[in-house]
C-alpha cells in the first residue's frame, strides 16, 4: 500500500479556551462521569465498566432494568492515553486515503448525514409582468424522498467534488424494497460502487455487520487488506443526551471494535434541552459523553481506533428545533476540538448546517459562519459540510456543489502562512528586480505562485453583470460533473459482492 493520502489543509488552530479553561472543562467532564455518572441501558456495557472497576448498580424505571455507572477519572485518563492518536481511513483509490493525526491540525471536509429529503433543482425562465421581453432564470425546487438511486448519484457527484475528502451518506434510502434487513447492504453498496473516497456510515442492523464487512473486504482485496486500507468506517451515537448509554448502539460498538475497524463515538446534545445552553455546561457534558464512549472502546480493546465525535448543537428557543448556523454552535464545537487535541484523539466535528430550506443567501450565511470557524479549529474530520439544508433534513446536490466551492476557498484561507527564510530571499530578490524596471509591476512574478496553486481562483460562479446568476451557473456546473461516468467497481468485484452479500437491490448492479 502506498503512503499517498489526501492533503486536506493543515491550519494553525484557532482556540477559544485558555489552559485554565481547558482544564476546568476537562475536570468538569470527569466529575460528571463520577457524579451523577451515566445511565446505561446495556448490560454487557455495564458489566464491562464494572469489571474494570467502575461503581455500577442496577435500577429500574418503567419496569425495565438499567445500570447507573460512576466512571472513575483514572479509568477515563487511561483510555485517553491508550486511544491511538493517528488513524488512517482507507479508500478505493489510495490517493484518497485520509490520515487523521491528532498531533497535526490537518482538516478534511466531508458530507453527512442521512437526510430523508432529496432536493432536485432545475432552472426555469420567468418573464417580467411589465415587460414580457425581460426574462430571468430562477430555480424551481422539488422535494422527493431519498432512494438508493439518489444515494448512488450523491456518491458519484461527491467523487467529483474536489474539496470533499470523505463520504458519509447524505441521504437516507427509502425505496420500495428497502427494509431493516437490507438497509445496510444497500447503503454501503450504493456508496462504495460510486465513489473512490472513504465511506463512513452508521450501522442500521447489528446482524448485518458481517455482511457489510465482507463487502468491504471484497472491495479492499481481503480481510487483511481491509484492516490496512479500511475503505469503510462507522459512526456510533452511543449516548442519548443527557448521559444515557443506548442499548443497541452499545452492542454495535462492541461488534465494530471487535472487528477492528475505525469508529467515531459521536454525541449530539442540544444546548437548551438535552444539555445546558451555556457554553461551559454544553461542552462539559458532551465531552463527558464522548469520553465515556471512548473509554468503553478502550475497555473492549486497548488501542482500538476511535475518533472523538462532537456534534454539539443549540436549540432554537422559539420551537426547540436544532439551530446550527449560529455563534453558539461555533463556541461549543471549537471548544470540543480543543479538548480532543488535548487528549490527542482525532476529532470528528461538524460544519455547514443551517435552517435554510433552499440554496441561497441564508444558506450561504449559515454555512459560511460554521464552515469558516470550524476549518480554523484544526478538527481533523468535519462532516455535515456538503449539501445539507433545512438543518439535516434535506440534501441538495446543487447545494453540495456550492459548498464545494465555498469550502475550497475556506481551505485556501486557512492554509498556514508561507513565510520562511527562503521566501524572504525570494521577496528581496523580486523587489530589487521589479524596481529596476520602468513599469514596476509584480504581475509577471505572480506566475510561480499561480502555477503552484498558491493563488486562488475567483469565485467559480461569479456573475459579471447586474443579474445574480450564481445558481444557474452552479446548476450548469453540476450537470457537467454529473455527465462523467460513475467510478464503478469492476465487474468481477460487483459479481462477488452480489454473490456473497444478500439483499442488494438488482438495479444497483452496475460495474465498470
Amino acid at each position: 500500500m502506498s503512503e499517498s493520502f489526501r492533503q486536506g489543509v493543515v491550519v494553525k488552530p484557532y482556540e477559544r479556551l485558555n489552559t485554565e479553561q481547558l482544564e476546568l472543562l476537562h475536570g468538569a467532564s470527569l466529575r460528571i462521569l463520577e457524579d451523577p455518572g451515566i445511565w446505561c441501558y446495556n448490560k454487557r456495557a455495564a458489566d464491562l465498566f464494572k469489571q474494570h472497576g467502575a461503581e455500577v448498580w442496577e435500577e429500574t424505571a418503567h419496569e425495565a432494568a438499567f445500570w447507573r455507572i460512576r466512571i472513575p477519572a483514572s479509568m477515563v485518563e487511561e483510555a485517553i492515553v491508550s486511544s491511538p492518536s493517528r488513524i488512517v481511513l482507507g479508500a478505493r483509490n489510495p490517493d484518497n486515503r485520509l490520515v487523521l493525526d491528532a498531533e497535526l491540525p490537518r482538516v478534511y471536509f466531508g458530507s453527512g448525514s442521512e437526510a430523508n429529503i432529496w432536493l432536485e433543482t432545475e432552472m426555469e425562465e420567468f418573464a417580467s409582468t411589465r415587460d414580457k421581453e425581460r426574462r430571468i432564470k430562477a430555480p424551481r425546487h422539488t422535494e422527493v424522498r431519498g432512494t438508493t438511486a439518489h444515494l448512488a448519484r450523491a456518491a458519484k457527484l461527491c467523487d467529483r467534488l474536489e474539496h470533499l475528502d470523505f463520504f458519509i451518506r447524505p441521504v437516507n434510502i427509502q425505496d420500495v424494497g428497502i427494509n431493516v434487513d437490507n438497509h445496510d447492504a444497500n447503503k454501503f453498496f450504493a456508496s462504495l460502487n460510486n465513489i473512490t473516497k472513504h465511506v463512513q456510515a452508521g450501522l442500521t442492523d447489528l446482524d448485518k455487520l458481517n455482511d457489510v464487512i465482507r463487502m468491504a473486504e471484497i472491495v479492499a482485496g481481503g480481510r487483511d487488506a481491509l484492516r490496512e486500507n479500511p475503505v469503510i468506517s462507522f459512526i456510533a451515537c452511543l449516548f442519548k443526551s443527557p448521559l444515557q448509554l443506548v442499548d443497541d448502539t452499545a452492542d454495535k460498538v462492541f461488534a465494530i471494535v471487535e472487528a477492528g475497524l475505525p469508529l467515531v463515538i459521536s454525541s449530539s446534545p442540544q444546548g437548551g434541552s438535552s444539555a445546558p445552553i451555556q457554553e461551559a455546561g454544553m461542552v462539559a457534558q458532551i465531552n463527558a459523553e464522548i469520553l465515556a464512549g471512548v473509554t468503553m472502546t478502550q475497555l473492549i480493546k486497548k488501542g482500538a481506533p476511535v475518533i472523538y465525535g462532537s456534534v454539539a448543537v443549540r436549540a432554537r428557543l422559539d420551537d426547540l428545533h436544532d439551530l446550527y448556523g449560529c455563534p453558539e454552535f461555533n463556541h461549543y464545537n471549537v471548544d470540543s476540538v480543543q479538548l480532543a487535541r488535548k487528549y490527542r484523539i482525532p476529532c470528528y466535528s461538524s460544519a455547514g448546517v443551517g435552517d435554510a430550506k433552499v440554496p441561497g443567501m441564508q444558506a450561504l450565511f449559515e454555512k459560511m459562519l460554521t464552515h469558516t470557524y470550524m476549518a480554523m479549529t484544526g478538527a481533523q474530520y468535519i462532516h455535515y459540510a456538503f449539501g445539507l439544508l433545512d438543518r439535516t433534513n434535506t440534501f441538495s446536490p446543487l447545494q453540495a456543489v456550492l459548498d464545494n466551492e465555498q469550502i475550497g476557498k475556506i481551505k485556501h484561507s486557512a492554509r498556514q502562512a508561507k513565510v520562511d527564510a527562503s521566501t524572504i530571499d525570494d521577496v528581496l530578490k523580486m523587489e530589487k528586480q521589479v524596481m529596476g524596471t520602468s513599469h514596476r509591476l509584480f504581475t509577471r512574478h505572480a506566475r510561480k505562485a499561480l502555477h503552484a496553486g498558491d493563488v486562488s481562483d475567483p469565485y467559480r460562479f461569479e456573475t459579471k453583470g447586474l443579474e445574480d446568476r450564481i445558481l444557474e451557473q452552479a446548476v450548469s456546473f453540476m450537470e457537467t460533473l454529473e455527465s462523467d461516468p460513475a467510478p464503478h467497481l469492476d465487474k468481477d468485484t460487483v459479481e462477488k459482492i452480489f454473490t456473497e452479500v444478500p439483499g442488494i437491490l438488482p438495479q444497483l448492479k452496475q460495474s465498470a
Binding site: S438, H439, R440, T443, H445, L450
Partner: protein, 226 residues
C-alpha cells in the same frame, strides 16, 4: 547550437515568460538557464536573420500564448511575462531589423494624464504593445498636457495612449486632444484612451479615436485605427 534549436529555445522561453537567465518559468527548475535575452543575443551574434528570429522565435510563440490565454490555461501574468520577453528581444533586434529595412509597427506615446499618478493599467498596456511590435515610448504618470503634446510632436508618433483612473483627471484627456487640435497635429495621431472611469461614450465625447477596456482591446483598436 543549431539555428532551429536556438529558435525553438527562444520560442520556449517566450512561452515560459523568461526574460533573463535568472528568471523563473512556468515550469520548475529553469532559473540559471539562458533565457530570451541571452538566446536572442546569441542568435544575433551567430548571424541569424532577425526577421526569422522575430517570426519563429517571437511571433509564433506569442500567438500560442494568446491561444492559451483564450482557453484560460494562461492568465494575465503569463501574457505579460511573454510580452516582456518579446519586448526585451525587440530591444536587441530593432537596430538589426532597421538595417534589414524592417520597421516597427509605429511609435506609441503612452502617459497617465496630469494630476493622476495611477499607472498600473498604463504599464500593462505598454508591455503588451511592445510585445505586439510597437515602439512604445512611456513618458510616465502625472504628465502635463504640454509635455504629452510635445512628445507626440518630437517623436512624430502616429499613436498616443492616455490613461486616467480618476473621474477628476479623465477630463484632462479632452484637454490633451484639444491641445493636439490647437497645435494642428490632431489628424496625424490616433488617440486611444483607457482607465476605469472611461467609456466608449466618453471617448466619443472628447473626440478620442478609440476607448480600450484593457490591453487586449488596445491591440485590437490599433489594428482598426491604423
Amino acid at each position: 547550437m543549431e539555428e532551429n534549436v536556438l529558435l525553438e529555445k527562444i520560442a520556449d522561453n517566450v512561452i515560459q515568460g523568461r526574460v533573463e537567465a535568472g528568471d523563473e518559468g512556468v515550469e520548475e527548475g529553469l532559473e540559471g538557464q539562458p533565457a530570451v535575452t541571452e538566446l536572442v543575443t546569441e542568435a544575433v551574434e551567430k548571424g541569424l536573420d532577425p526577421k526569422t528570429i522575430v517570426l519563429k522565435g517571437l511571433t509564433t510563440p506569442m500567438e500560442d500564448v494568446g491561444k492559451k490565454f483564450e482557453k484560460g490555461d494562461y492568465l494575465i501574468p503569463d501574457m505579460l511575462a511573454a510580452a516582456e520577453c518579446v519586448g526585451a528581444a525587440m530591444d536587441i533586434l530593432s537596430p538589426h531589423l532597421l538595417k534589414s529595412g524592417v520597421e516597427s509597427k509605429g511609435k506609441f506615446i503612452i502617459a497617465t494624464v496630469a494630476g493622476d499618478v495611477h499607472d498600473i493599467g498604463k504599464n500593462i498596456v505598454a508591455i503588451m504593445l511592445k510585445g505586439a511590435g510597437y515602439e512604445v515610448i512611456d513618458i510616465g504618470n502625472d504628465v502635463p498636457t504640454d509635455r504629452i503634446v510635445k512628445a507626440v510632436k518630437d517623436h512624430q508618433a502616429p499613436f498616443l495612449g492616455l490613461s486616467a483612473l480618476l473621474t477628476t483627471t479623465m477630463r484632462t484627456m479632452g484637454d490633451v486632444i484639444k491641445k493636439l487640435e490647437e497645435e494642428g497635429i490632431r489628424d496625424k495621431v490616433k488617440v486611444l484612451i483607457g482607465g476605469a472611469p472611461t467609456s466608449g461614450d466618453f471617448a466619443s465625447q472628447i473626440k478620442a479615436d478609440a476607448h480600450c477596456r484593457d490591453a487586449f482591446q488596445a491591440i485590437d483598436a490599433l489594428k482598426n485605427v491604423a
